[in-house]
Amino acid sequence: MLTMIGKRLMFAIPSLIGVVIVTFLLTRALPGDPAAYFAGPAATKEAVEQIRKKLGLDKPLIEQFFRYTNDLAHGDFGNSLTTGQPVATEIRNRLPASAELTLLGLIVSIVIAIPLGVLAATRPGSWIDHLCRITTTAGVSLPVFFTGLMLVYLFYFQLGWSPAPLGRLDVFYSAPPTVTGFYLIDTLIARDFEAFRSALSQLILPATTLAIFSLAPIARMTRASMLAVLASEFVRTARASGLSPTTVIVTYAFRNAMLPVITTLSMVFSFLLGANVLVEKVFAWPGIGSYAVEALISSDFAPVQGFVLTMAVMYVLLNLVIDILYGVIDPRVRLEG
């Protein structure tokens, strides 16, 4: 198992190098001159040149690249030009916010989607099958900013059940000391239950928004793969052996049906992590997606590069976890490790 993990990590190195090169070139190729942007609209030509020199943008591309990789090797992702903060710190602060939101959203989604998919597959054509179809279609066809705003309108503005959608914590509470970066966990570690309540109530609406959106792929995939497995011959054997319906569905069908579902899960997770900019915007969530988009708009290279690199690493790690999970579930995969 350990050799397999090591091997997989080694395989990831070339792709990471590729990501570094491509992001570097891509950000250089983007329209917009950061020097001009920072000098401001009223700046003179000389002032722009001065800033350009200060940023090192007058050097040849190859030299800029080596300087960049050298910094990367030292854990220095550069400084954001807009905020002046080191990118590494910003990402370290913002990634947990996005991850916490995405994970919670995904957990809510899994808890609803998988039983829904399984039930729909075991009773095709029944009301629960139709419910599954309607829910997932509705969830995926409503844009997240719309569902987000709807939820805010309903639960904050109309009912007043949830707090103002303004970030991760109510302004009256201070952030817990960072252990994991997940407020829900950190507040519990700090035994600050009031803050935990606040963090949770801030999380519920955006997480629900994400969950509604990601229900569809998970539920549909669960239903489809359960249907395929239930029609298979080993399920028939299990039935013919008189095994109880629970054993047949859980031990025989569900475990086999999990394989494609896990793949879908990993895709949904990595997609949501970087792409839920709209949700982050609606709920003023200090996440990584909105950070990257803001940086991109202002031609701020360093955060964009840092973001892409972080996402690439996350993706590699996530794939590794999926492969390990696959190996745990399917012995045929284990053999090839």
Partner: protein, 574 residues
């Protein structure tokens, strides 16, 4: 019958609700099985034999239901029983063995655990100290060596025959009174088939169990069963003692089935129904005799052909990449180990052997779908062995070697109509251009293979197995090939269809002067179609000679073993 039968099926009708309305898969079937009796239900696909057995266990699909009649199993009315009651019955009183053992086992669960699941369901904890021990015992009884180790094996780690033993162990774990074996040996090699059938008979006889054997193979039914029920299109057409039914078949369908079964001492024409056989015989005799010796040079010459596969997968390559030491054991596996043979013009040669003997690998190399490791492949005087598989597809030689595949369904593109499938090779390599000309040629070919022209515009799923086989053959002969490789072309077909297709192949060969390389595991079929037969085992040729001689007087022990493993009907049809 004096004693009350263990299973009594009376007037059973099973209906399926489909999009095209209600279909009666089984109609008014009466079957009874006495205690300790072995009954065979014989029929071709669609005869309702499997559906009958599913109805007995009440494991029909959602769409199917028992519409009429009754099923009584040792005093229990199966139709009226509650689902809980049925579940208790399944596996404990009645159990079932399925076709395709590997698919019948959960691929990601240890085989021991799967047996234990059944034990746990049916045997009270108090009665058995340890379910694990009991599962190992069950594995031991089906003669699996080292059962304690095999307990922890996954199905993919076991051979097909071994998997079927596990399925048998699973079925017999709780000592049921009735065992239903649904085509238990289809897809297994003959020697494995014999071992598995002997095992089933031995175990069930020892426990005084009743058995229902569902099969399409009359020989198998005759060799292992007391009584035979013949089914056709959902109805029972004949029920008789095994010995009687072969000596004196009453129903025309039974006679047709028996005629169509390939066996010793009959010719290809004998397989066809009486009236058709007489018709077909005339043109065949008029056809020119094979011109085997007319030309000196053989059409295909194979010398010292070797195909090696690396034993490890991607891991080994990776190891090398990072400078690891190569593994100590030899890292190649010889699938084909230096074989030599030749095929003359107009000759048909059978390549026989069990799965894994290298016969398919050989045919793939001749087709240039695979590159050989070493050796010579000479076709029509040209060395084609050196041509890269990828390049071969565009060369003119390609059109002279064609192939008919094993599975008539899977080898047709489901989105191509029959005419499109037949036209495909002509469009790739032929010289006929233009819609109408192509169509005319395809119709010509369809006539040759006996495919009605109105079926040409249908898609594969709208055709029967035999019709699909004809499309596959028409496609193969579309470019006037000199050599056709037939890879088990009839393995997926019913015996009566097989008889027709084999005769068709024989006629086409005589008419078009083609040579055949017939790859098969069925010695009886090979004997009918081939002049010469080559027996392969573990990549080597163990025996070679004229078909009649090899089959009537085998020299090699392995050939003898293969021949004795084939179940024979006790008597010949007159």
């Amino acid at each position: 019958m004096t004693a009350r039968p263990l299973l009594e099926v009376q007037d059973l009708t099973v209906e399926f609700t489909t999009r095209r309305g209600i279909i009666k898969a089984v109609q008014h079937v009466n079957i009874s099985v006495a205690k300790g009796e072995t009954l065979a239900i014989v029929g071709e696909s669609g005869s309702g034999k499997s559906v009958t057995s599913y109805a007995v266990m009440r494991i029909l699909d959602r769409a199917g239901r028992i519409a009429e009649g009754s099923v009584m199993f040792s005093g229990i009315d199966v139709k009226a029983a509650s689902e809980d009651q049925m579940r208790d019955l399944r596996g404990r009183e009645v159990s079932m063995i399925f076709q395709n053992p590997r698919a019948a086992l959960n691929p990601i669960r240890k085989v021991g655990d799967q047996i234990e699941d059944v034990l746990r369901t049916h045997v009270q904890q108090a009665q058995v100290a340890d379910h694990g021990e009991k599962a190992i015992e069950a594995l031991e009884q089906v003669k699996i060596v080292r059962p304690r180790e095999r307990y922890h094996a996954y199905p993919f780690e076991l051979s097909g025959g071994m998997c079927q033993r596990v399925v048998i162990a699973l079925a017999l774990a709780c000592n049921p009174q009735l065992l239903i074996a649904d085509e238990p040996t289809t897809g297994l090699d003959v020697t494995t088939q014999k071992a598995v059938m002997d095992l089933i008979v031995e175990l069930t006889k020892r426990r005084a169990m009743s058995t229902i054997l569902i099969t399409h193979d009359l020989g198998l039914a005759a060799a292992y069963c007391d009584r035979v029920v013949v089914m056709e299109k959902g109805r029972v057409v004949e029920t008789a003692k095994a010995a009687d039914i072969f000596a004196n078949p009453q129903h025309p369908y039974t006679r047709k089935l028996m005629r169509a079964t390939p066996r010793l001492g009959v010719s290809l024409r004998d397989l066809l129904p009486e009236e058709e056989g007489a018709l077909a015989a005339a043109p065949a005799e008029a056809a020119p005799a094979p011109t085997a010796s007319a030309e000196k040079q053989p059409l295909l010459l194979i010398e010292k052909l070797v195909k090696e596969y690396p034993r490890q997968g991607a891991t080994a390559t990776l190891g090398k990449l990072f400078g690891r030491k190569p593994p100590v054991e030899p890292d190649v596996f010889r699938a084909v180990d230096g074989i030599s043979f030749s095929i003359g013009h107009g000759e048909s040669v059978g390549l026989v052997g069990e799965s894994g003997c290298g016969k398919s690998t050989t045919s793939m190399m001749v087709m240039r779908l695979l590159d050989q490791t070493s050796g010579l492949i000479q076709f029509d005087g040209e060395d084609i062995g050196g041509i890269q598989p990828a390049a071969f597809a565009r060369l003119p030689q390609r059109s002279r070697i064609q192939m008919v595949f094993q599975d008539p369904t899977d080898s047709l593109n489901p989105r191509f109509t029959a005419v499109r499938a037949i036209a495909d090779p002509i469009m790739q390599l032929g010289d006929i251009r233009g819609r109408d000309a192509l169509r005319t040629r395809c119709e010509e070919l369809a006539t040759m293979v006996g495919l009605p022209h109105n079926l040409l515009d249908r898609f594969p799923h709208q055709l029967s197995g035999g019709q699909k086989a004809r499309v596959g053959i028409a496609r193969a002969i579309a470019l006037h090939p000199k050599l056709v490789i037939l890879d088990e072309p009839t393995a997926a077909l019913d015996v009566s269809v097989q008889a027709v297709v084999l005769n068709l192949l024989q006629d086409l060969k005589a008419r078009l002067g083609m040579s055949y390389l017939f790859v098969s595991h069925d010695l009886n079929v090979v004997r009918l179609l081939c002049d010469r037969v080559i027996v392969m085992r573990t990549g080597r040729i163990v025996e070679e000679g004229a078909s009649e001689k090899v089959l009537s007087d085998p020299q090699d022990d392995y050939t003898k073993e293969l021949l004795t493993a084939i179940p024979h009907p006790p008597l010949q049809v007159h």
